[in-house]
Amino acid sequence: MSYLPEGLPIPSAGADGLSTPYWEGTRREKLMIQFCRGCKHWQWGPEWICHRCNSFDRDWREVAGKGVIYSYQRVWHPVHPALNGHGPYIAVLVELPAADNVRMIGNLLGDPKQDVPIGGTVEAVFEHHASASPPYSLVHWRLV
C-alpha cells in the first residue's frame, strides 16, 4: 500500500533522459546522486552541468539512504483529484550528510499528525509502483 493514493502524476525521466539513472536506481532500491568528477562535489537535483565548476563531467554514484530533516510541511488541502478526501500528509525536505548535504523531498512515513522534528534523523524507504505504466519507485523517509 502506497503512502499517498494512486492516481498522482507518474515521475518521468523526461524526453532528455537527464534523470534516468536516478529512476532506474530507485527501482533497484539504490539512491543514485550526481557527483562532479571535476570538483569532487555532490549536486542535486539532476543537471547537465556542475553549478560549482561548470564541468559537464558528472557521474552517478550511490549514496546511503540516511538523512536529516531540514524542513517539512503537513498538507491538509488537496489540490489534485487523487488526493480528495485524503489527508493530512507530510512531506519532508531531507539533507544527505554523506553527499554534501544535498536535499531531497519525500513523504515522512507514519502518523500524518505526528510532530516532525527538524534535525531528526531519517532513513530512506523505497515504495514500488510495479503495476504503474511505466513502473516507478518513490523514495520516502522514516524517523530512526
Partner: protein, 393 residues
C-alpha cells in the same frame, strides 16, 4: 562617467483597474479586462490611449502586445517586453522595464499591465492534470508537493524554526490586509472582516499557512502608465517618481529540488541592496509598505530581507497595531493587497502605492513621500521598487 540610474527619470502618470472579481466570475474576457484597465489608466493620466507606444508585463501574460496595439489603435508600437518568471515575482520589474524604456528614449508612454481571468483559463492554486511529472516536478509532485503553497511552505517553516517566529506574526500580516480592505470598496473582501478567532479557527491549507495566509484567486486587470519625468508637470495628478527598482535572485536559489543554498528566503537578499542604492534611501526612509502576499510567510521573509526588521524582531514588529494606517509605525498593504483587495499579481499594490503618494488612499498613511512595493517573494526572479513624490527626489 555619469551615474547609471533610473532614479527620478520616470513617473507613473496614471493608474487603472477593472472591477475585481472572485475567480471565474468576471463577465468579461481576459483580453477585454486588459483593455478596460489600460483605458482607465490612460484616462487617469489624461492621455489619448492611441499615444501609448509600449507594453510591459510579466508572468507570461496572455494579452499579446501586438493584439493590444491593434485593438487600442496604437499609432506606433516601439517597446514590448515580458519579464520572465511566474506569479507576481516580476511585477516591480515590469514597471522598471517600462521606466527604462522611457528614460532611454526607446518609447514615450509605456503601460505596465496584468490581466487575469482564471475562469477562462486555469487556476493557479491547483495541481496539474497531466499524467506524468517531468523535470523538477518528477521529484516533488508524486509526493504531493505541487501547488504554490506546497512549494513555498517548507521555506517558511525553516525560517520560522531558525528565528523563533510565531504563527501570530503571520496572523498579523493577514489581519492587516483584511483590516484595510474593510475601507476599500474595490476589495473583493470588502465587508468581510477577519479577526484573530476567525483566523485561528480557519482550516489549514498546508502548515504553516491557514486559509487566511493564502492569497485570493481573482479575475480582473490593472495597469499603470509610465512616462518620462519631464512630462510630470503636464499630468492631471501628482506624479509618482520611480526612485529605485531592482530584480533578480541570490546565488543558485533555483537549484533544482529545493537545493538553493539560502533556502529559507524570499530571495531578496541580494536584490534589496541594489534597490536602496538606486533610491538613495534605506528602510527607515520608507513611509508605507506594499508587500506582495502570495503567502504571509513570504511577506515575513521579504520584510526582513528589505531591512524592516531583523529576523529576531519579527514577532515584535508584526503586530496588527504596527501595520495599520494611519496609526501604525509601518502601514502594510493599505488596500488589502493580494489577501483581501485582489490577487492581481501585485499590480494592485503598485496602484495603491500611487494612491498613497497622491494622498487619496482609503487608508491614507500620514507619511506618504516614499512607498515601497515588494513583488512576489520566493517567485524568482523577484523584484521590488520604490516610488516617491517630487519632494522625495
Amino acid at each position: 562617467m555619469t551615474e547609471r540610474t533610473l532614479r527620478g527619470q520616470a513617473v507613473i502618470a496614471g493608474i487603472g483597474e477593472t472591477t475585481y472579481y472572485k475567480h471565474g466570475q468576471s463577465p468579461d474576457s481576459e483580453f477585454k479586462l486588459a483593455l478596460m484597465a489600460i483605458l482607465a489608466a490612460a484616462k487617469d493620466a489624461g492621455i489619448d490611449p492611441k499615444n501609448i507606444d509600449g507594453f510591459t508585463s510579466y508572468s507570461n501574460d496572455r494579452s499579446d502586445p501586438s493584439r493590444l496595439a491593434a485593438a487600442l489603435g496604437t499609432r506606433e508600437l516601439r517597446f514590448s517586453n515580458m519579464q520572465w518568471g511566474g506569479g507576481g515575482g516580476g511585477v516591480a520589474a515590469a514597471v522598471g522595464n517600462a521606466a527604462a524604456a522611457v528614460a532611454t528614449g526607446m518609447a514615450n508612454c509605456v503601460v505596465a499591465f496584468r490581466a487575469l481571468a482564471q475562469g477562462q483559463f486555469a487556476r493557479f492554486g491547483r495541481g496539474s492534470g497531466a499524467p506524468l511529472a517531468a523535470g523538477d516536478d518528477a521529484f516533488t509532485v508524486p509526493y504531493g508537493v505541487m501547488s504554490p503553497a506546497q512549494k513555498f511552505a517548507m521555506k517558511v517553516t525553516r525560517f520560522m524554526h531558525d528565528h523563533g517566529v510565531k504563527q501570530e506574526a503571520l496572523r498579523a500580516i493577514s489581519l492587516a490586509s483584511y483590516h484595510h480592505a474593510q475601507n476599500n470598496p474595490r476589495a473583493v473582501m470588502y465587508g468581510r472582516p477577519l479577526d484573530e478567532a476567525k483566523y485561528d479557527a480557519s482550516r489549514w491549507i498546508v502548515e504553516p499557512f491557514h486559509l487566511f495566509d493564502c492569497c485570493l484567486e481573482n479575475d480582473g486587470a490593472a495597469a499603470v502608465i509610465i512616462m518620462p519625468a519631464d512630462r510630470a508637470r503636464d499630468l492631471p495628478h501628482k506624479a509618482s517618481y520611480l526612485l529605485g527598482v531592482a530584480s533578480g535572485s541570490d546565488h543558485r536559489c533555483a537549484a533544482p529540488v529545493h537545493n538553493g543554498p539560502n533556502y529559507a528566503s524570499s530571495h531578496f537578499a541580494t536584490v534589496a541592496p541594489h534597490l536602496y542604492e538606486m533610491a538613495k534611501l534605506g528602510p527607515k526612509d520608507i513611509g508605507v509598505v506594499q508587500c506582495y502576499e502570495n503567502f504571509t510567510g513570504g511577506v515575513l521573509m521579504s520584510l526582513v530581507e528589505h531591512g524592516f526588521c531583523a529576523p529576531e524582531e519579527a514577532n515584535d514588529l508584526l503586530r496588527l497595531e504596527n501595520l495599520i494606517a494611519p496609526t501604525g509605525r509601518m502601514p502594510l498593504n493599505t488596500s488589502g493587497g493580494n489577501l483581501a483587495e485582489c490577487y492581481m499579481h501585485g499590480l494592485e499594490l503598485v496602484n495603491e502605492a500611487v494612491r498613497q503618494i497622491r494622498g487619496v488612499s482609503v487608508n491614507q498613511a500620514p507619511r506618504n513621500d516614499t512607498v515601497i512595493v515588494v513583488g512576489g517573494p520566493m517567485v524568482t526572479p523577484v523584484s521590488s521598487l520604490i516610488l516617491g513624490s517630487e519632494a522625495a527626489l
